[in-house]
Symmetry: C2
C-alpha cells in the first residue's frame, strides 16, 4: 500500500507509491508514449483492465464486455487504494498515513481515438456526465474529502497510454493548492461579500481582451496571470461551488466549450501535450458562497526550471491577451 507523507516546511503531501515504479514510463529514457499494437482501453479488451466501476452501455450489454460508450475502471497502478485503514500517525516532526483513496480511469471511447476532440458532442457530454456520476458516488464514502478530475495528454504531460482517457484521484485530505484557492477566495468574500470568481468572470467579460469562448453558461479565457502560453481557464458564469452540481443543460454547453477550446489549441499548436484539471469544492463542504469550480487547461510547451521550482513564480514568454486573440481567431 502507498503512503501519504508530509513534511512541515512546505506543508506538502507526497504519495510514496512504490508499486507504480512498475510503470514503464516512470523513469523515462526514451521520451515518448509506448506505441503498441495492443491497447487495454479498446473495446474487446475489457478483460485486460480491472473490472469496471461504471459504464454507459447500450441496452442489454453485459459488464466488462463490449457495447459501452464511456467506461470507468480502477487504475491498474493506483496511487491510492480504496481498501484499508488510514492509520494516521506521526514520526517526530513528520506526518504519515496509509494511501487510502481512489484512483480511477475514465475511458472516453471504445475506439482507439487519441483526442477528446475526435469524439462527437454527445460522447463528450457523456464523459462529463461520467465525471459527475463518479464524484457523486465517491463523496458517499466519508473517509474521502476531495476528488480531482484530470487529463494527461502526451508523454511530456505524464500520459502513458494514447487512447483518450481522463483520471480521477480521490484523496483523504484537501489538496494544498485547492485549500490555498479556497482561503484566498474566502478572504476576498469576507472583505467584499462577493465571490472572487464571479468578479473575475464579470471583469473578463467586461474587459473582453482575454475571452476565447463565451456562451450562455460558460466563459473560457486566457487567465490574466497565465503561467504558460495558451493557458486556458473555463468558469461557469453562474456561481456554483461543486462541479457535480452541474445540470444537464449546463453539461451540454460545457461539452461544446471544452471541445471548442481544445480543438483551437490542437489547431494552433499541432496537437500539443497538455493537462487539464477540475477544481471543485471539497466533498465535505455543502455549499460555499466564496468558492467557484473551474477547469484549468495547461499546454505543456515550456520546461519548468529551477526558478519556478524555487519560487512558485512562472515565466511566460507570451501575453495572455495575444494567446486569447490567436485562439479566438482560430477554427472552429
Amino acid at each position: 500500500m502507498s503512503e501519504l507523507r508530509r513534511e512541515p516546511v512546505s506543508g506538502r503531501w507526497v504519495i510514496i507509491a512504490t508499486e507504480r515504479a512498475a510503470r514503464p514510463t516512470d523513469f523515462k529514457t526514451n521520451p515518448q508514449i509506448i506505441k503498441s499494437s495492443f491497447c487495454p482501453f479498446c473495446e474487446g479488451n475489457e478483460d485486460k483492465t480491472p473490472p469496471e466501476i461504471l459504464a454507459y452501455r447500450d441496452n442489454g450489454a453485459m459488464p466488462n464486455t463490449g457495447g459501452w460508450r464511456v467506461r470507468v475502471v480502477p487504475n491498474k497502478f493506483p496511487a491510492l487504494q480504496v481498501e484499508g485503514e488510514q492509520n494516521k500517525r506521526g514520526e517526530g516532526i513528520y506526518d504519515i498515513m496509509n494511501g487510502i483513496g481512489a484512483h480511477e480511469v475514465i475511458i472516453e471511447s471504445p475506439r482507439h481515438i487519441q483526442s477528446l476532440t475526435s469524439l462527437d458532442n454527445g460522447n463528450v457530454k457523456e464523459v462529463l456526465l461520467c465525471y459527475r456520476d463518479r464524484l457523486i458516488d465517491l463523496k458517499n464514502d466519508k473517509r474521502f474529502v476531495y476528488g480531482l478530475l484530470f487529463k494527461n495528454v502526451g508523454f511530456s504531460a505524464g500520459a502513458s497510454l494514447e487512447h483518450t482517457h481522463s483520471q480521477l484521484i480521490v484523496t483523504p485530505i484537501v489538496p494544498q493548492l485547492v485549500e490555498n484557492e479556497m482561503e484566498n477566495a474566502k478572504t476576498f468574500y469576507q472583505h467584499r461579500e462577493r465571490c472572487l470568481f464571479c468578479d473575475m468572470v464579470q471583469q473578463e467579460i467586461d474587459t473582453n481582451s482575454r475571452i476565447i469562448i463565451l456562451t450562455d453558461n460558460f466563459v473560457a479565457f486566457a487567465p490574466f496571470a497565465s503561467r504558460f502560453p495558451f493557458e486556458i481557464w473555463i468558469l461557469p458564469r453562474k456561481h456554483e461551488a461543486h462541479f457535480e452540481s452541474l445540470q444537464k443543460f449546463e453539461i451540454d454547453d460545457l461539452a461544446t466549450v471544452l471541445k471548442g477550446v481544445l480543438t483551437k489549441l490542437e489547431a494552433i499548436l499541432d496537437f500539443p501535450p497538455y493537462n487539464y484539471v477540475i477544481h471543485s469544492a471539497p466533498f465535505n463542504i455543502n455549499e460555499s458562497e466564496s468558492f467557484h469550480w473551474h477547469i484549468e487547461i495547461i499546454p505543456r510547451l515550456t520546461n519548468i526550471a529551477g526558478f519556478e521550482w524555487g519560487t512558485g513564480f512562472y515565466i511566460n514568454p507570451m501575453h495572455p491577451e495575444q494567446a486569447a486573440e490567436t485562439l479566438r481567431n482560430s477554427i472552429p
Copy 2:
C-alpha cells in the same frame, strides 16, 4: 520590459517576459540542448555576453577578457531588469507591476565543462563564494527583497546551454514558496520556541535512515516527503537564516558536500537533468530565529502530470530511504 502579474485566486505571480520568446528553446520541438561549436560562456568569447558584473581573475587580467575563473554576467534574455520604476498598479481584481529585478548568470568555469562535478574543489568553492558576493551586493538595492540562486542542468530541466553555469534572479516580492516555508517555520517556532529546520536536522541525524552525507557543518539527506526519486536537501547544521552569512570554512565544507552529492547522483543516474535551488531568508529580514537556509536538489526523472498540477501533491515511486541508501553506497 517584462511585467509581473498576479491573480487573486492562486495568489501566484507570473512574469510575462515576451522578449524571452526569442530564446530558441522556448517552444520546444526537438527536446535537446542546442549543440553548437560556439559557446558564449567559454574563455575567449567574453564579448559575446553582456559586460561582466563580477569575475574572479588572475592578477592583472582586464575585465571582459580571458584569465578569469568564475564570471558573472547579466542574462542576455533577462526575466527581470535592473533599470526602471516598479509602477505598481491594479487592473480591477488583478495586480501588476513592471518587471524590475535582476537576472544574472554565474559562469562556473572558463573551460567548456558540462558539470559542476568536473570542477576542482577550489573552483566549486569560488562558485559558492560568488553566490555569496552577488547576494551581498544586490541586497544593497532597497527595491529588491529576494534573490534566488538556482541551477538548471539538461534540456528538460530548462537549460539552454550546456556550459556549466548557475543563475540568480532577484525579485521585488518574496516568492510564494519561500513565504509559505517562512510562515510554516514561524508557526512551528511560536509553538515550540525552536527552529523547525534545526529539529529536522536533529531528527534526520538521529534516525539516520535518510542521510547521504554528514559533515561537521552540513547534512545532505533525502527528505522524508521527497517529491521525486533521489531528491536531496542540504542544510547547515548550525542555525542560519541567510546563505550569504556563510563563513569561509563553511563554504569549503559545503563545496565538498555539494560536489559529493552531485557526483553520486551523476554516477547512479548517468548524468540526469536536474535543478537545484537555494532557499535563503529575504533581504529585508535581518535575523530570523525560525527560518534556516537550505539547498533543494531535484533530479528531473519523472514528468509532472495533471494530478500534481491540480493538487500540489506529488507521486513518488521510490522511498526516500531507498534513495538515500543507494546514494550513500555509491562513489565517491
